[in-house]
Symmetry: D2
Subunit: 414 residues, 4 copies
Amino acid sequence: MEPLFATDQTKALVPRIREFVLNELVPLETSEHLTGNFSKVAAILDQKRELVRKADLWGLQHSLDEGGLGLSLCEFGQVSEALAWSPFGHYTFNCQAPDIGNMELMHKYAPEPLKRRYLEPLRDGHIRSCFSMTEPEFAGSNPTRMGTTAVRVGDDWVINGHKWFTSSADGSAFAVVMAVTNPDAAPHRRASMILVPTDTPGFELVRNISIMGDGSDHWGSHAEVRYTDVRVPATNLIGGEGMGFVLAQERLGPGRIHHCMRWIGISERCFDLMCRRAATREMEDGVMLGEKQFVQGWIAESRAQIDAARLMVLRTAQNIDQFGAAAVRNQISEIKFFVADIMLNVVDRAIQTYGAMGITDDVLLPWYYRHERGARIYDGADEVHKTALARSILKEYGLDTKRNKPADLAAARA
Amino acid sequence: MEPLFATDQTKALVPRIREFVLNELVPLETSEHLTGNFSKVAAILDQKRELVRKADLWGLQHSLDEGGLGLSLCEFGQVSEALAWSPFGHYTFNCQAPDIGNMELMHKYAPEPLKRRYLEPLRDGHIRSCFSMTEPEFAGSNPTRMGTTAVRVGDDWVINGHKWFTSSADGSAFAVVMAVTNPDAAPHRRASMILVPTDTPGFELVRNISIMGDGSDHWGSHAEVRYTDVRVPATNLIGGEGMGFVLAQERLGPGRIHHCMRWIGISERCFDLMCRRAATREMEDGVMLGEKQFVQGWIAESRAQIDAARLMVLRTAQNIDQFGAAAVRNQISEIKFFVADIMLNVVDRAIQTYGAMGITDDVLLPWYYRHERGARIYDGADEVHKTALARSILKEYGLDTKRNKPADLAAARA
Amino acid sequence: MEPLFATDQTKALVPRIREFVLNELVPLETSEHLTGNFSKVAAILDQKRELVRKADLWGLQHSLDEGGLGLSLCEFGQVSEALAWSPFGHYTFNCQAPDIGNMELMHKYAPEPLKRRYLEPLRDGHIRSCFSMTEPEFAGSNPTRMGTTAVRVGDDWVINGHKWFTSSADGSAFAVVMAVTNPDAAPHRRASMILVPTDTPGFELVRNISIMGDGSDHWGSHAEVRYTDVRVPATNLIGGEGMGFVLAQERLGPGRIHHCMRWIGISERCFDLMCRRAATREMEDGVMLGEKQFVQGWIAESRAQIDAARLMVLRTAQNIDQFGAAAVRNQISEIKFFVADIMLNVVDRAIQTYGAMGITDDVLLPWYYRHERGARIYDGADEVHKTALARSILKEYGLDTKRNKPADLAAARA
Amino acid sequence: MEPLFATDQTKALVPRIREFVLNELVPLETSEHLTGNFSKVAAILDQKRELVRKADLWGLQHSLDEGGLGLSLCEFGQVSEALAWSPFGHYTFNCQAPDIGNMELMHKYAPEPLKRRYLEPLRDGHIRSCFSMTEPEFAGSNPTRMGTTAVRVGDDWVINGHKWFTSSADGSAFAVVMAVTNPDAAPHRRASMILVPTDTPGFELVRNISIMGDGSDHWGSHAEVRYTDVRVPATNLIGGEGMGFVLAQERLGPGRIHHCMRWIGISERCFDLMCRRAATREMEDGVMLGEKQFVQGWIAESRAQIDAARLMVLRTAQNIDQFGAAAVRNQISEIKFFVADIMLNVVDRAIQTYGAMGITDDVLLPWYYRHERGARIYDGADEVHKTALARSILKEYGLDTKRNKPADLAAARA
């Protein structure tokens, strides 16, 4: 824990979470559970969820008016890091994406009947949900390009479209779908968010896309979904019509903090594994791996980088808490690529430290190597964030790189 | 093909191999075949082997006196690159490790009866084999530390030991086992190579180790093997007693070329995928991914690096052909870490170019990302080769870093 | 300024310092002043010092009992960053190394007569001083190896030795010399610090070593010094006998913060130059340099790295303020290599952004490129700090890499 | 020497050149000669030139019909590497840029009277010359943007313009000036090359630009030049009117090889210095610097990279010899950024290996650090070559990134 950002809440909570994760979740990290489908481990984790409830650690993310602890984003970030010590932490504590994002969104913007019917069981961990935005035909880096439409027909929305990377769709009770409702509006006002129960006719889970060797079902799924004349009541709208991007943006600040602190937790875990190995692996008689300068270099650089990453994210979180996400847009971009890069480097160094064992599923490392490579891609590829950050900075220097929009002029052919 | 090293043989062979790989093997790269156990695709590949025979392309690696083409190492390297355009190339052409190494070894050093009984069906692709050297209890970077023993009892060797990363053991007809036969000899004269049929009592395939998410059976297996009072005839010795390390070393030069040229083939394949994506993926209206400088940078750097890697390997191969491996030991170390690093960078850049699709098993890239991470580890971790190379160079400058052996003095605590 | 660490003092001071630096010092950055000897600009800077006094900004580093502002280390760090916007900032404000370190040291440990005679005019900027520790014959990374001796003869110390990188010696009134006084004590108790007026017979400034193309005289000198039977009163001892290393260590924590914050100031300055160039340089008709993704990448990565560096340093400073340097030894190691590397990268990217102009002395960048390359070397090479940090971490994991000290082992060899 | 490219000529020449450089030039590398103006050392080098003539090593670059050795480009590349062992090698052997390029150009394209008057004394080393192309107002990466004009008035050209980085102008007998003669032609047909004696009225050497701390006069100068109504005979045209770019392009292939092989020579020299230091510098009792893995890593990586760089350049040279520069345009781009980057890394690692001494002018390293930073900039910034290479590759994949030229688009915007 970084003392600079510790609060009474985090000082009390984090050690309890850590202990739970170490005692209940780390022992589950067997080759069997670390490979193949998530459903293999889900039933066990559901039992662990009961222990979380008994330990009175359920619902850490909830606001005071939801009966939660009302943690600030900066505080919850520290919780998220502690959960990330195990790949099963967030799920077990019901703090996993995309559910946590859906909960926040619905808490603020869903009409009461939707809350009662969908948000409450979601909070209680009785159902799961998914977020259906990315489309295979369009580059995710430009969310204004979207093919899915929702047309108002009487009191219903009729939705048609093709999505993928609808993460966790398999087994979900409902999806929050991003669809164009106002095709003639300005680009950022075209889409809306609509709640679609997955048992609605026309909702077709085409397949769970195999990712990095895993079929990845259940919460671990990344689904391709087709919406064909899917009909839901007009009241299933979350937020207002045309508010899709605004809400997606609003989701982004906290979501970034959640992700980044999870990455830092992963980094710390791999760092710990690396140090354990270095301290105990004998290379020659009486010479331990940790005495090699190459390994010392990895340890030192990792330590400094992880520390830097945490400071960057928690400062951003605190700033969001104080000034709002809009005020620190640049910092929210910064941490995306800064932290993802560090995490993947730490994972890689840890693997190298383990040698042959490091590529086996006898250790946790390949799980992160495979499942977190996406960190540099999802939520906006690193390159997109770098460009956005630089453009924002250059604007302060008088250069408006968007003055001629690329779409109009194809001028991005830099 | 690099004209500098092209010969009449390679000019004739390489295009034919490429065509075969493109037509017969590339179409097999489906999500189904690229995930899970190798046995899922093995039967199909065995059919393709028939086509290889019909095309008169079987046995490309064989020497003239084996009835083969007698390709030089430099020529075969170019063949190996062409095969590597598909992850199934080497297996289909029966040029896969560890069989190819075992074939070379046995051709030179096995007694005639062993050749007839094991080498001939291996050449014909009727059986498979494995090489059993690495042990979980000892760092692979120091092969003189080994726990497996073979004791002469009458006309037999009685073998006891514990190995892992006995690659391809699952389904193999025999293993070439490295075991200490002369414990009191100098470190490099202690071990011998002994052929052990896998149906010998006491040979126990404990498990196929799960690697990077794959159970990995059949040729794709990396097995943990236990040898308990395994008894084989004294005549199963390959080469002389105490010759284990000498033979392992001899195997190393050609083996390195095979590996490195395979990595270059992989790099070229991923480079091709990256360019295809860049040329065809639209980011905004009329703006293609390949117009982005970040992507252009990846393409340019990859192109230069792959070219450099190929020149390095083929020059080393040609030097081995001309002067023998011992004369260019440093070059053989150089290419290990130089090429592995480049390959993994190209794979990574290609994934990033594909965005979300790049982590799905809909494309080939995750297969390489998962299965080739080991390249920086196996066959001596990169760090070991860097150290060896530097020490050899510094010796020319008068510094003998081994004058006080680390084992004696623990002086490596650098 | 980072709001997280801003205080009333820094909020008031930093803008005033910045304004002074921008108005008075930045205009001095001409090719003439940025090349060759420091004496070319020293006279001008001495005039600027008068303006500093008039602006009541003199002596920012002094403690309350010295009549100063009593800034905490974390606060002074922020001042140091502001001064570093110009290469002439620290000198002009009399906060330059090594004088600032000597002032701190003498304030705490010098006997009163030495203070009156040397410290007071030093504080007033009437004299300069140097610190004489590094020796050409011994690796600076191991300060227990030292050839300079001070032998007690009657009421005097008689000093003999050979030093270099006695920075700023040229024109200094006195040197603080590190010399072995107790050769038979434990390694870290052998040396003492002794004040030697430079006009003492036997003190020979052999030469100002030419550094990166500059003869570098005056405050900018890095001198080779020979001490031959240099005789000074016993009362010229600073701190107790054998306390040399303890004092050098104590000096290290604050010194590291000063350096690192200076490097961050340099980074910010170069970042600013880079952005100005990117925003205003036309590459083709209507296409500005800042529209190129390569340049955007440099800007974005630099921005994130500098922010991270500042957080790292100021957190360390605050921790030193609260817990003392000994408690955060690891953080003090971390920031050394972390920040030096980032600064040099930012300098390099800025040069590349300027193209041909970037290597001319028409811009400030080559000054930093040449004069700050040493940052990865002095004050302990980065590699030394990485090793120290890793060893400290591994000790927590049970591996004591110093249990067999190389020096002991080497002895054991004999 | 790389055996792959060695010829009878290079086998005979290179050792003789190396010996000359070692015996005659390396001893000149004193702090005095490595700092400040080139004129400090020029007189001594002119004496060494006499020794070159006596050793019958003068004019290594000349073609057979010039009475030279007729070395192929690949052979001369190897000579260039040998010369680069000293920073004074190329000058002493009269193979220095820009004279060598001017000699080639004039040999092929200058009218006979110009050859007699200017080329002959240039070959003999009696005069020097410069090449006047880059302009401060326009980005060098786009040579079609140029402000200097030459207008035909009677039998003369009247030249007006402003140039900088007219390297070696100080003391030159003539400049080859690039000027727009046909402003209405297609962009690449607008400019011509015209020989201008530097004593022509209106030729003003404004200043020798200070570069990286050096005033840099004589051959080492990088001059700012103003042409004001400079009048030269129409017959001073080199090649045809409008042929400026074609000739500049033609110059580029061989020039690239010269530069790159020089960089490789520099890399080898610094590598040698690094190894010497590592083998002889004691860090602790009995522990040499070269026993540290960090240093071993630098040595190993440098060795591999330099080998790769040499293979890349010599293969390109051989291909230019065989197929012409146009056929291997991509390779000529590749080696630019590939080799420059490697060289600068090797220089940097060597400095770090020397510690504090590494930044002093007591060693050669800072000379390269300062004077070769430009390698990533001049002759087209690395980024320009990466972009050009990627675009050329992507064209093969069907993406023509120039189909809408930015310049055209910008016009379209208006």
